[in-house]
Symmetry: C2
Subunit: 436 residues, 2 copies
């Protein structure tokens, strides 16, 4: 009697259940960086690559390369919709109107495309390589990470009965809500969702963000996910990533050590020609935070804040505050954003540690949108998040390098890393294990 | 695009969301007792009454008497459906066919009705009194308890947002599943759902029973809920309750103390004329277990087992085993059923304690079907189960009495309790607080 015949037939007709349904389903900083690249480097070819730092998880055994290609081709077939472009053009981001130039939006609508790519299997892993113009390659990062992450989820879901699925989500919701209750008790907290790339699924990220938003109100600054910001009337959050200094360093590496060294500030110079205010957030750890701050021109201290990624955020925050004071800046007017593998307890401790000293906010990622640890109804670990990354590997024919504050996160060819270490110095920190 | 217009309109047209949707939605033992009453006491008038032993919960402030009456009138309008009667006639219960006589089923189909009742408010409580023929009053017990219990649930649900509802059920499912995992680890366990009367809701009981059934397989003996047994192809479980010895004692109390005292065995005599095998389960605690066993005729030791209700089941089980040995019976062939306020840890301890000594099984009630403690998203206690009971208060014009092994569960007029205590003796046990 209650059968919805149309719905039932539709469910059985399903050809592809797309993971990425809109080109806005990406981190907002990718759009800011895309405009930056479109404006400054429209003709530079790059390559980038996805790899899985969690080697014990053999992705190729869980995910079919054919199904992966179908999902990726679906994204390639997407176009920016009129309503999305109108929103990008008319919305206020960080209090600023028209952050996106009309010419850029015009290009997005008519000329934006995603590059070609290759998928290989190697040693049980899936290797996905993108190559093309930087403007064509860059956006793959979040789309493809989110696709691989959700395909891994779907493979694990397929092994569960209906009741087990129910148990899985009940446990994950219970865990999420317990976290939210801890956060709700903290006055003056500020955090954002940074969990797009390694999310359990789009719908789960949406659930988590709605739950956070409903419980925390304006203590949730927003979400990095542009589609969720658009759909749920939230602030889109984010500025820039390692991709920019890595690619600019690779291009500068053709020249002198001095050119290589100053490339990390060239990025900032170019960035502040396009963006201002809350978007002037430096990311100092690409080649080591300490050398970055020591060698930075005075005008860098005028920037609005800093994002800490690979360094212990307590240490990095103190270091940044000292550096600001040395440059005559008031840290209480500056922003400190932490975003590396955070979970609630660390977020709360960081908030308490920096409260009143600097405007701290947390970018809460994988452990917001993909914390299914101990939720599997048969105790398996198939839903555990993995450390999946997508990095630019060459720019204009030159290999890229990242040194990072955590030596275990260094990437690039060995001989190039050696040169970069001569130029930038070696990080003093020991190798720390990478969780997510 | 995906709007189901018919469903949406239907949802908005809703006049009453019935709590009891079938006359089978009752404990199986009520049907066994109904046939017993129909056969032996077709013309005896009785009264019964619902009251709430958890006085701090003011039910009248949460439940509207008008809405309560609507739900009860809905049940009065129900009839046994053909398919339900066919199932009662043709099914095997406890391995026995035709447990229900054709004349009884015929009467159920054509002549069964529910008695009149009155609802009053007193001191913040709802007092519901039923009066009529015993065959008309008896079935109200489970219908009305389940209705009041679910109306209390619905009142609490109405205070939650959609997201909070989601959190509530996620937590309750997580808790339920954690319990099931503990039980799943215990080999040879036997338990049944006894949780109809104080359930959170019909749908939640159904969910809990399906979850148990799927995880425990045949370690779940079945469910006391006849509608769920019918719908999900499970065994219907149960035998008889205090109502029978209480009413028969009240009728005998017109006569001598000796007649009053032997009435507790008269019940058993009558019962074994109708039923055999696994249905020969004595319930010895109505007027005190110890005096019941001491005074019992030898043939009572031939019965299949005993259900422990108000006495500590470890003590009561040992007492029963000793008594069986004294009567030359092998306890390992007998059944011991515990059913009072059990939860997993006690169930497992009881199983381990009696394993190999007697065939133990657990009737798991309120803490299976209504354990929402600490699940409220704002920490309130509105979903906590309460100790709601329905007791026969008079039979054939005589007041009923229950002494029980737990003095705090004694019911009846003070002067009658005094006479019963002279006749049956006083329980030696201290008063124990009643949780559910």
């Amino acid at each position: 009697m209650n059968v919805n015949f149309a719905e039932r037939a539709h469910n059985h007709n399903w050809k592809l259940d797309p993971i990425v349904r809109s080109l806005l389903d990406t981190d907002f900083y990718k759009l800011l960086m895309l405009q930056f690249i479109w404006k400054n480097f429209p003709a530079i070819p790059v390559t980038s690559e996805i790899y899985n730092r969690t080697l014990k998880v053999k992705l190729a055994e869980r995910i079919s390369a054919i199904a992966l290609r179908e999902q990726m081709e679906h994204v390639r077939g997407l176009r920016y919709r009129r309503s999305e472009l109108v929103w990008l053009a008319g919305n206020t981001f960080y209090g600023v109107r028209q952050i996106f130039q009309p010419e850029f939006l015009d290009w997005l609508e008519h000329d934006f495309r995603l590059s070609d790519y290759e998928i290989h299997e190697h040693d049980g892993q899936l290797v996905i390589r993108f190559s093309g113009l930087w403007t064509e390659v860059t956006m793959w990062e979040v789309y493809s990470l989110a696709i691989v992450s959700e395909m891994k989820t779907r493979a694990a879901l397929a092994e569960l009965s209906e009741l087990e699925l129910d148990v899985l989500y009940a446990r994950a919701k219970t865990r999420l809500w317990d976290k939210i209750e801890k956060l709700r008790a903290v006055e003056g907290l500020r955090l954002s969702d940074f969990g797009t790339r390694r999310r359990h699924s789009f719908l789960w990220q949406e659930y988590a963000v709605e739950a956070l938003s409903s419980a925390l109100g304006n203590r949730l600054s927003g979400t990095s996910n542009t589609a969720l910001a658009y759909k749920h009337n939230l602030e889109a959050i984010g500025t820039n990533a390692h991709e920019l200094p890595m690619a600019m360093a690779a291009m500068a590496a053709r020249g002198s050590d001095q050119e290589l060294r100053t490339s990390q500030y060239k990025v900032l110079e170019l960035w502040q020609r396009s963006y201002g205010g809350e978007l002037l957030i430096a990311l100092p750890d690409t080649f080591g935070t300490t050398q970055f701050l020591e060698g930075a021109p005075d005008w860098v201290a005028k920037w609005t804040g800093e994002r800490v990624d690979s360094k212990d955020p307590f240490i990095a925050g103190d270091e940044y505050i000292s550096w600001l004071l040395k440059h005559g800046e008031d840290p209480r007017k500056k922003r400190l954003i932490a975003s590396d593998g955070l979970d609630v307890d660390t977020i709360i401790r960081l908030h308490e540690y920096f409260n009143g000293r600097i405007r701290f906010s947390a970018g809460w990622g994988t452990l917001l949108t993909n914390d299914f640890r101990d939720c599997h109804p048969r105790g398996e670990d198939t839903f555990e998040p993995i450390s999946l990354v997508c990095k630019v590997t060459s720019a204009d024919g030159q290999p890229t390098v990242k040194l990072s504050d955590n030596a275990s996160k260094a990437t690039g060819p060995v001989e190039e890393i050696a040169r970069y270490r001569r130029v930038f110095g070696s990080p003093v920190l020991a190798e720390e294990p990478v969780l997510v």
